[in-house]
Amino acid sequence: MDQLTSLLGGFSVALEPINLLWLLIGAVLGTAVGVLPGLGSAMAVALLLPVTFALDPTGAFIMFASIYFGGLFGDSTAGILLNTPGNSSAIATTFEGHRMARDGRAAKALGTSAIGAFIGGTIATTAVVFLAPYLATVASLFGPAEYFALAAFAFVAISSVVAESVVRGLTALGLGLLITLVGIDQASGAQRFTMGAPALFDGISIIVVTLGLLAIGEVLYVGSRIRRERSRTGTLAIGGGSPFLRGAEWRKALPAFLRGTSFGLPFGVIPVGGSEVPTFLAYGTEKRLAQRRRDPDFGTRGAIQGVAGPEAAGNATAGTAMGALLALGLPTSATAAMMLAAFQQYGMQPGPLLFERSADLVWPLIASLFLGLVILLVLNLPFAAVWAKLLVIPRHYLYAGITVVAMLGVYAIASSTLDLWLLLAIGVIGVVMRRFEIPLAPVLIAAILGPLAETELRRALAVSEGDPSVLVGSPITVVLYAVMAAAVAISAVQHLRHARRDARQRVGAR
């Protein structure tokens, strides 16, 4: 119970009025940059570093902590409302969230996402308080072979997204894999599809792909059909609605919150692709469960679970990632890397010795993570209704605004004009895909998991000098592959049974 005493001490520092003010400022700033695509919380921390030099270390860390979570609360807002996720961690939330917004339930989707972020973050931070010393053990269990098994597992787990039309799904998946091949190969240094352009050496940013497909693609598609539709003005959806969940909605959302959190928790510790993998796993799970329930809303009007799961997963990952940063000195995301640098500026060296050496700084920081989550929830819930009013803006203005935000956001990533051309080109691809009803999600899934699977497979094989047995050389890999095989077998059996029953019904109807 030493941790509890230390944590209470931390709270007493973090609750000083001036520190609460920093916390509030950080939360607002973090949310603001999170909302804007292209400006991640890494950028926010970077820009604020000079400002925080004027503060004492505790004040600075408290501000960083609230920026860190603020970005995660903010990034799904734009995704839900405008289909322009502020960060790759919000992509999975965007799928169902934007559907809900179009159905006139924008405030509800935003509220769900805020609550999800709060629940995920709180549980994860609690886990960090009590389990920080054991995080190192989890991190040390994962080598290249385990990462590859994990990536393969994630592919299978979310394959249900692809399953509606196999050909179209695989087309989209292939397209995503193709996009990720662009760039210098990490393992050999060979250039792939760069056409000698240095701007392509680091590949195409996932933000460019996401905004191109989801935002620009949508704008162009709507533009191309504008004369065919009767109402030329009009709005995207009726805004309004309450952001607060009612009893029945809680019953739907709560299990999804918890499922999402349990996906997110372990992923923060292992430096594998940040929070995208767990958010997609959560999305895939909710989708699968919706199919089993025969929920008609999922994928059409938007289901609350599809927002709740991924959002909780994203923030749970962020919570334990903070633990990994503090207890192991492992930065598992760009923001974490930035904060690592910031901690070092103040002479606090995250790592196995941190809790002994800088206890006076760490505990207020952890306490402020909790306070930050509360403040963000309080800020975001009432604001959800205001945000949702955005959709009241007539569609043509709104779409012009989306285009501007997407273009500026992409330019802000690396000040590269080539990225803007790529954004437009991918937008056109998005139009074509919409026209031929090719699903967009598999492109993004492949773009995130593809490179992960490739690098880790090659690393594993390089270490073993090409001996494939290394891939099943540890208990973790064996368990993952076994679960995967079981899942595939079960779904195949179900498929067959359904097919047989359908056939029987058809015979019976005759």
């Binding site: 603001a32 909302v35 804007l36 292209g38 400006l39 890494a42 950028m43 970077a46 000079p50 190192a136 991190a139 040390s140 269990l141 994962f142 080598g143 290249p144 210098i184 990490q186 393992a187 240094g189 000698g196 240095p198 701007a199 050496f201 680091d202 292992i270 430096p271 192991l328 000195g329 492992l330 930065p331 598992t332 760009a334 890397a337 930035m338 690592l340 640098a341 070092q344 500026q345 002479g347 060296q349 790592g351 196995p352 010795l353 205001v386 945000w387 009013k389 009241v392 803006i393 203005y397 605004g401 935000v405 500026l408 802000a412 690396a414 000040s415 590269s416 690393r459 390089a462 270490v463």
Partner: protein, 326 residues
């Protein structure tokens, strides 16, 4: 009126992005000198090593009053060569400096196309740190000799994890291999995007050994999770408790240096002014503290001396990269 609120919010948000995106378009005003406005280009994303260096320098230059407004602009990509390309095309802009270092020379050598550091004006080499060779705590290798013996026996089976290809970690692995009679092409080098990942690969026993910056490993070495075998410094490092490669009998030395260069066509006066700014920074107490905190070694070298060093370093690194077969 209520309907307008979201519209106003939305426009404010757009204005904020625009302001940030326009950052690198600003600061080009005529009549200004580097003393009034200075831009440091960090050719890496926020959180990267060069970004940290740029922000440390920004802080000290401003606090010492060497220049009144200093901003950092990130131009990430391709081992810094994207940033290099931009600065090399800035002609005679007098208020800009690019952060550079060992990794950029490797990046230029590997890209074989695009701009090189010859198209910039050398200002100063400022600080160094070193790479260190480590093994997991339960590894059978206690000294560099143990490791080298096993490595010579089976180069392929002795995988070495390190930072990205062509970076200092990779170069040190290649040089050390060549020095102990292993064809650099046979070195089984596993590239990770950064030092943090190398640390976790050591903790998970993924590779036989790892090479990365000393800072990344320091705490893990201290608690005994990993063991340091040799450091790539030229001179013995007092108080570190890790022998240099040379002391341990392998003739390899390489430093990971950081420095600043300016656009190619600046006037001699501007160059002298930029050098003076850097010298004021380097002489300050605040910079001493910065060096200590980051475990950087002071390696100040300015103007033409730095230019000569750049040339020699480029030739050396190009040769290694060729031998490594990249």
């Amino acid at each position: 009126m209520r309907r307008r609120i979201p519209l106003i919010l939305f426009s404010a948000a757009s204005a904020a992005v625009f302001g940030l995106a326009a950052v690198d378009a600003s600061g080009g005003g005529a009549g200004a000198t580097p003393r009034t406005a200075l831009t440091l280009v960090a050719p890496a994303a926020p959180g990267g090593g060069w970004d940290a260096f740029a922000r440390e320098a920004q802080q000290v230059i401003r606090d010492e009053g060497a220049s009144s407004t200093v901003q950092v602009v990130n131009v990430p990509g391709a081992a810094g060569t994207i940033g290099l390309g931009q600065v090399a095309q800035m002609g005679d802009r007098h208020d800009i400096m690019l952060v550079t270092g060992t990794v950029m020379i490797g990046g230029v050598a590997m890209a074989t196309s695009g701009e090189t550091l010859e198209h910039t004006t050398p200002i100063a080499r400022i600080a160094d740190d070193y790479a260190v060779l480590v093994v997991p705590a339960d590894s059978p290798y206690e000294t560099l000799d143990d490791f080298v013996a096993a490595w010579q026996e089976d180069p392929g089976g002795t995988a070495i994890a390190g930072g990205s290809l062509g970076g200092i970690d990779h170069l040190v692995a290649g040089l050390a291999g060549a020095e102990v009679g292993i064809d650099p092409r046979d070195v089984n080098y596993i590239a990770y995007p950064g030092g943090g990942e190398v640390v976790s690969s050591m903790l998970s026993n993924s590779a036989a050994a790892g090479i990365s910056g000393l800072n990344e490993f320091r705490d893990q070495i201290e608690v005994g999770n990993i063991r340091a075998l040799a450091v790539s410094a030229e001179e013995p490092q007092e108080g570190l408790g890790i022998p240099t490669f040379r002391e341990a009998g392998v003739d390899v030395a390489m430093s990971n240096w950081r420095g600043l260069v300016a656009p190619p066509d600046i006037s001699d006066e501007t160059r002298a002014e930029l050098i003076a700014i850097v010298e004021e920074m380097q002489a300050s107490d605040a910079w001493r503290a910065t060096l200590d905190r980051n475990n950087w070694t002071d390696s100040m070298l300015v103007g033409d001396e730095f230019g000569a060093f750049l040339e020699a370093e480029s030739t050396r690194i190009e040769t290694i990269i060729e031998e490594l077969g990249l």
